[in-house]
Each structure stands twice: as structure tokens, then as C-alpha cells.
Symmetry: C2
Subunit: 304 residues, 2 copies
Amino acid sequence: MEIHFLGTGAGVPSKQRNGSATALRFLSGQKGAWLFDCGEATQHRLLDSTLRPPMFEAIFITHMHGDHIYGLPGFLGSRSFMGGTTPLTLYGPPGIKRFITISLEASGTYLNYPLFVNEVRAGEKIETDRGAVEVVKLDHTVLSFGYRFTEPARRGRVRKEYLVKKGLPPGPLYKQLQEKKDVVTEDGTVVRWKDALEPDRPGRVISIAGDTKPSKGSRTLAENAEVLIHEGTFSENLKDHAGQFGHSTAKEAAIIARDGKAKHLILTHISPRYEKELEILREEAAREFSNISVAYDGFVYKVK
Amino acid sequence: MEIHFLGTGAGVPSKQRNGSATALRFLSGQKGAWLFDCGEATQHRLLDSTLRPPMFEAIFITHMHGDHIYGLPGFLGSRSFMGGTTPLTLYGPPGIKRFITISLEASGTYLNYPLFVNEVRAGEKIETDRGAVEVVKLDHTVLSFGYRFTEPARRGRVRKEYLVKKGLPPGPLYKQLQEKKDVVTEDGTVVRWKDALEPDRPGRVISIAGDTKPSKGSRTLAENAEVLIHEGTFSENLKDHAGQFGHSTAKEAAIIARDGKAKHLILTHISPRYEKELEILREEAAREFSNISVAYDGFVYKVK
Ligand SMILES: [Zn+2]
Ligand SMILES: [Zn+2]
């Protein structure tokens, strides 16, 4: 998987940072991508990336603020115009359906693909063929969600040492074992897949938070996440201001990642006032948690 | 006046050309600007210009297609966020009010300035302190307007030769004459302003067409216009296609400008397919009418 940061700013777009949009790109198995939030000009940012609107299978909206949704009508229309015919499913807070419907209707936009719009509730678990997504309630000035995505459990690794001892060198039979089928070696020995495979590995967790101040929800998102994508809108000297407007400081995000034992924290939703002093955010966060990236528009993070 | 071309593309935004937006900037008298159409990411294009959302006094929407209106909610919100407190008036076709209202409502956007939204009808004449704007019906796949803006008549020029002969050399008294006040020279001669000024000059006309195929309306817009801004979406080999989708070719626009005795034609709303062969459009148009510019994003035209 790759995570593409398309818009990493907060509030009004600047030359450096656009309104929120983050894409999760699936590289193994069937190709495709998901989009989290869609600020105005997200489709423009895609022009500078390897992603195109028709690739997207699903969109998840964290909350209804303009810098997270105003790019939706254009994205949806362009996906059709650019030849997208596969279905698209959109998840978001109540109100999203009306916004989409009125926008497309007003502009006389007809989509050449099926669009499913689902207004979700906190606690809801969305099951997809790419894994499950839990809708987590956060604490912002308006209803705001985080999405906790868990890959399906992955097959255990082949226990090579054991198999070689059994007289089974690496070869095509390993694939059968991985597919949970017993095999018979040339000398007639039966090898059980249960003995040949390590236990299933739990799927990785990628959590994408919407705008929020530190909350129970953000801690839920952080829990054992492979990657936590969380806002770090302000620095510590604006902590009160951050809280008042339902935002987190970079340090607060780092504490949440650390306490939840997340493996990696990516800070996004950066206030334009830090463009020339991003290091302040990074340093304040790094004192609490070492595995941090500060996102920028165009940043691509490869999930290990 | 200056005309700023913020978005000169058609349909889907490309790296070169954004969705439609044209700004008319007033340089003499009170400063300010008007916006014609507001495609997605118009506020982003403004970041590369000398214009800022709070400067705008009025917005005119030609028609409801997405590439002409999807930037409105973001523009309106940012105008407030960036400190705009002066009133803003928006004119557009029926449906524009609902689109704005629902978009701002959905995103919980509160504006710190009075916004007046007027749904206009063809033939309507809007009177403003900057001049009059006539709403002209065009011929597109949906209801589409052009806006014909006429400056107030300008005072006649001072007849310098006559005044010098009368013993009145250039000086502060000229200003009084221009303000239509009689003056008395040092030797007691009375000079009447009516004799001292040339007749009032009619105000210049700037016409901005929405999407249209050649039509009565586009001809009305062209009539004696100082500047006609008109779409030239396609070249002649796609003339049928253009007509079918309610568009004009560059040549058709040139004929309209020529027949209407417009002084200058600026072609905009260029299909992305011509990015590498813009000269085709220019040449086909130039055979009919010589005074042509092909707009590009960032082009600023100074009205003489
Ligand atoms: Zn927000
Ligand atoms: Zn159109």
C-alpha cells in the first residue's frame, strides 16, 4: 500500500498546501485506491500524481467542513468525464448525500457510473473486499469521524526450515501449502499445511483521523496502528486555541500515537502559519514519539 | 480596467487550463473587481495573481455547468476567512441560490459579510455604480447568459486648443471645467464648460459570453464592444461537434466579433485537445478578424 498526501493544509488553501485529501493506494492484488476527504482542487492535485479519478473505488469523508468536501462535485464529474464506469461508494456524515445530490443536480451532471452514497454512524463497521473500516467518532466543532481500516488477516509465512528438514526444498509445492492444502513429497511423506505454516498474521491497520482535539476516538484510531494519520494543526503555544476550535497540536498527536503504540505517525492538516517553521511542529512532536513524518502535498508514504 | 483570465479551459481541468473564471478589475476611481464564473480552484488561481477574494464586489455566473460554478462555495468561504466584510452580490441563472445555500449550509460555513444572491432573467438590466450590465440569453445545452457591461458615459475631453486661444493655459481651472463648472479667467473672461469640453464619450462595453453556439445573443454581445470575451472551444474540423454540444469554433467567434464591429476579441474556454496546437485556433479565427487574443491562465489584458 501507498499513502498519497494530496492536500495537507488547514482552512484556506495556500500555494504550498491544499485542503484535505489523502489517498490509499492498493498495490497487491487488484489495483485501486480509496480517497479520504476531498477538498476543493483535489482533482487538480491528482494531475501531479500517478492517480486518476477512475481508479478510485471508495471515498470516505471525515466531516462536512468545506476544506474537506468542496472538491467532491468536481471529482465525481471528472471521474465520469474521464471514462470511469466502475461503481464508486461514498461514505460520510449525515448531510453528505444532500450536498452531492444538489451539486450534481444544479450543474446538470450525469454520471456514467453507479454512485452509492452512505451516510454512516459512529461505531459502524464497513466490510469491504479490501478489509474492514471502523467509523470512529472524534471531537471537533462539528460531527467528525476517523476511519480505522484493517486489512484482512494475512496467511502465515511458510516454515522453510521445518520443510527442508522434512525433505521438501523450496518449490511449487510451497504455494499449495500457502493455499492451505496438504502435499505429498516424492518419497510419499504427507506434509500437513497446518504444520508447514506459521499462524495467520493479523492485517495491518491504517487509521485516518478527521479534524479532532485529543479524544477517546483518536486513541481508538492509534491503537496498534501501522500508520496513524492525524492532524497536527498547531504548535504548543497555541494549544488553547487548538482545543477551542476542535484541533490538536502536533505534540498532542504524538502522545496519542505513542500511548496507542502506533508504529508510525504522519502529521497533516498543518496551519498555513507554520510554512516557514515546520520544524517547530516536528520537534515538539518528536520529543514524545520518534517515528513521525510531517506530510506535504505530494508526499507518498509506502506502507511496509 | 484590466481583465484577468483565471481559468480558460473547457470541461475537465488540465495542468495548463482551469475551469472558467474571468475577473474584471477596476483601476480608476474606487478599486475593486468583478468575477465572471467561478470554476473549481478559482481561489487557487487567485493565489498566483494580484487579486484577492475580499476585493470582489460582484460575481456573475453565466450558466450552471460544474466547470463554471464549483469554485463558488470555496471562494465565498475564503473571502470571509480572509477578512472580507464588504457586501458581495452574486448574479446567476435560476438554481444558483439553492446551490450556494445548500453548499454553505452543509459545510457549516458562516460568512462575515452580506451576500446577496440574485437569480436573473434574460433581458434584465442590472444597474450598478460602475455601470450597467445587460443579461443576454445565449444558446447552449442549458440556459446560458452573456453579460454586456457598459461603463457610464465619460466626460468629454477638455478642448485645450480653444482654451489656450481664450487665454486659459492648462492648470487647476481645467479640473473645474471638467466637473462641468464655468470659470472666470484672470482678466475676467467667462469660459463656459459647455464650450470647453468635447461631448461626453459613450462608456466602453466589455462583453463576457458564457458557453454558446453562434446565436442572436452572441451577436448582441459583440455589437460595438471594446472587448468581446467569447468561447472558441473547437477548431473548424469539429464544427458539427461544437454545434451539437452548444459550443462555438474559434472561427465562428471571430465572425461574430467582426460582424458586430467589436474592437477586440479574446478567445477563451479552449478544449484541452488544442494545448499543443493553439495556432490552429488562432489562424482560423485570424482569417476572419484581425484583432484577436487567445487567452491563457494568468493572461492579463489591459483595456485601453
Ligand atoms: Zn475542520
Ligand atoms: Zn458549459
